[in-house]
């Protein structure tokens, strides 16, 4: 399950958790390759390690063994500071509960990743407007999260994830808190980002309907992947 120059390459990755005196192995010698421009849905039972996989790919958790490379860069040896810089440039996170700052407007939320760049205020404002336009919320820039529906909040979160133009989007149950219609809107946007803008997307989901929007589905069970191809 590898590709020649994959966007993501996991080689012999192991991850264990210690609970009291007990050590639980989530993965042991996990290998994975995901090509650039792919849209992968990761499914599996609770506790199978889906979110842990996403956290390892995003550099917010560390593997106990093995190599993790994203866009040909090894991240398993980076320091915390280096990882933060790397995340800012390469990763867009989308969370189940949106994780927006409740006291900030939509535009201010979307602007946050740009504060880590060298862009000036005007350039940041232009980027924010573009990102909100992509998710169809250009007219809601001054609204705060509590003034928006769940679907709209998730669209703001997507705008925040893409505003700094990362290569890889990591989505953790992005429709898990939404009704069907809102979920379909969000998944359509992700499909658009993958198809039109070439973003590589890894999406963890429990929802088979959501998984149908991906190009491929990986089933994670007992620390191993089982792949199922979907019609494009």
């Amino acid at each position: 399950m590898t590709a020649e120059h994959p966007m993501i390459r996991l080689t012999g990755v192991a991850k264990r958790f210690t609970k009291g005196k007990e050590t639980i192995s989530i993965f042991d010698h996990l290998d994975l390759g995901i090509p650039r421009g792919d849209f992968i849905a990761v499914m599996g039972p609770s506790g199978s390690g889906k979110t842990t996989l996403l956290n390892l790919l995003g550099g917010i958790d560390r593997a106990d063994a093995g190599e993790i490379a994203v866009a040909d860069q090894r991240i398993d040896g980076l320091s915390e500071g280096e990882l933060a810089t790397w995340r800012a440039a390469n990763i867009g996170f989308i969370f189940q509960f949106y994780n927006l700052m409740p006291m900030l407007t939509a535009a201010q939320n979307v602007e946050l990743p740009l504060l880590l760049t060298r862009l000036n205020r005007k350039e940041r404002a232009e980027r924010v407007h573009t990102a909100l336009s992509v998710v169809g919320l250009a007219d809601r820039t001054k609204h705060r999260p509590r003034e928006m529906s769940g679907g709209q909040q998730q669209r703001v979160a997507i705008a925040r994830a893409i505003v700094s133009d990362p290569n890889l989007l990591l989505c953790d149950e992005p429709t898990g808190d939404l009704d069907r219609q809102s979920a379909d809107e969000i998944l359509s946007i992700l499909q658009l980002l993958n198809g039109e803008l070439g973003k590589t997307i890894v999406m963890v989901t429990h929802d088979p309907a959501a998984a149908n929007y991906a190009k491929r589905v990986l089933h994670l069970d007992k620390g191993r992947f089982v792949e199922r191809e979907l019609a494009a």
């Binding site: 958790d61 995340r87 969370f95 994780n99 700052m101 006291m103 946050l112 504060l115 880590l116 060298r118």
Partner: protein
């Protein structure tokens, strides 16, 4: 660097804007810090008011002569012969009539009743010489008249009249076996003399059987530099075993003893309370970090560093502390500034003074508040900076 400051500004703004979500806990911290500042500033205002009253009473060109080793007028004795020698001493100014400008004085303790508590307290009865009033600044009779020499009449300071009962003009007061008529009220520019009762020296000596002694001699000097001449004269004259000080130096010593004591009471009490406030601030800020764990972790996941989270948390704590400090200072000003009180001075008699806040004291109070905020915010800020991202993201 620019990016770092943008991060710090963004995280700090997020923290401060979210205080409203923790308003009651934040309010309790603000109140605790305000109470600490009120206690401290009340004591400091008391010490400051006392010191201003006493220290402001002395002049550089007035010498005060006491028995060698005497800490205060109350335990000094100067004989009639010594007074005569001082009159002939160098550096003492003379009036147009050629007489030396000196005032031998007798300082006695009499009883008075406090208006507020109806309890007895020691009051100073001062027998002054002919030049007694001219050797003091800003003496003015505000009601009635000055006492007549040779009669058992007294005038009372306006601060004493305000705090103690029975001294209205026209009334008669008893000190021991003697009876005195109150014939006037005087002011003395807010100095310690406004806490005294004044009478003619000779009458006081006579009625209290102190005919051949006084306790101090005040003398107007030809200038501040003449003090050393008088000192030298006293040191080299075997019949004068006396201490010569400027009146300003004497009162500065008197003021520092009591105001130091007040401050030594105030600071430990305020620090003990501050420890409680630190515990409150720690609780508030740990709760703040816990409440913002998901926000902090989200920002870290996006790429923000730990330092902005540290600064943002500390800024929130310091803001609460500054609000508490200013609130405490404002409350102290409204409640205590200008309030009149009395306490024992260096002569074991009551000194009436006003609590007095100053910008410097307010700065001390706010500084203490900031220290509380700094300690209370430091450890939670470290926790915020070190919060594992995964733990924070799934903290809901």
């Amino acid at each position: 660097m620019r990016s770092l400051w943008l991060q710090v500004a963004a995280v700090t703004a997020i923290n401060l804007k979210s205080i409203g979500q923790r308003r009651w806990l934040s309010l309790s911290t603000v109140i605790a810090i305000a109470l600490v500042v009120i206690v401290l500033l009340a004591f400091l205002a008391m010490a400051n008011g006392f010191q201003r009253t006493i220290a402001g009473s002395g002049a550089d060109d007035i010498a005060i002569v006491l028995r060698a080793g005497s800490q205060a007028e109350i335990n000094s004795t100067v004989s009639r012969d010594q007074v005569r020698l001082i009159e002939d001493g160098p550096g003492i100014a003379r009036g147009s009539d050629g007489k030396p400008l000196i005032s031998p004085e007798l300082y006695l303790v009499v009883d008075g009743i406090k208006r507020s508590t109806k309890t007895k307290a020691n009051l100073p009865l001062r027998g002054i010489g002919e030049q007694g009033t001219t050797l003091r600044k800003d003496i003015a009779i505000t009601a009635g008249r000055m006492f007549n020499r040779g009669s058992n009449e007294v005038v009372v300071g306006k601060a004493l009249l305000r705090e103690f009962e029975g001294f209205d003009v026209g009334s008669t007061v008893s000190f021991g076996a003697s009876r005195w008529n109150v014939v006037g009220v005087f002011e003395a520019g807010g100095s310690v003399f406004e806490s005294e009762i004044w009478a003619d020296l000779n009458v006081v000596q006579s009625l209290f059987n102190r005919n051949n002694v006084v306790q101090t001699v005040r003398a107007r000097l030809t200038g501040p530099a003449a003090l050393n001449e008088l000192k030298s004269y006293s040191d080299n004259e075997p019949r004068l075993k006396l201490d010569v000080k400027s009146e300003a130096a004497y009162f500065a010593e008197q003021a520092s003893q009591t105001s130091d004591l007040i401050q030594k009471l105030g600071w430990p009490l305020a620090i003990a309370m501050a420890l409680g406030a630190v515990a409150g601030a720690l609780n508030t800020m740990y709760s703040s970090v816990a409440a913002r764990a998901t926000e902090i972790a989200t920002l870290r996941a996006i790429g923000f560093g730990g330092f902005p989270a540290f600064v943002g948390t500390l800024a929130e704590s310091l803001l609460l502390a500054v609000i508490g400090g200013l609130l405490g200072a404002a409350a102290t000003y409204l409640i205590f500034d200008g309030v009149t009180a009395s306490t024992l001075g260096g002569n074991f008699t009551q000194v009436v003074f006003d609590f007095k806040l100053s910008p410097w004291l307010i700065a001390e109070g706010v500084a203490l508040a900031l220290i509380v905020g700094l300690i209370g915010g430091l450890f939670p800020a470290v926790r915020a900076a070190r919060l594992p991202i995964v733990e924070g993201l799934y903290a809901r």
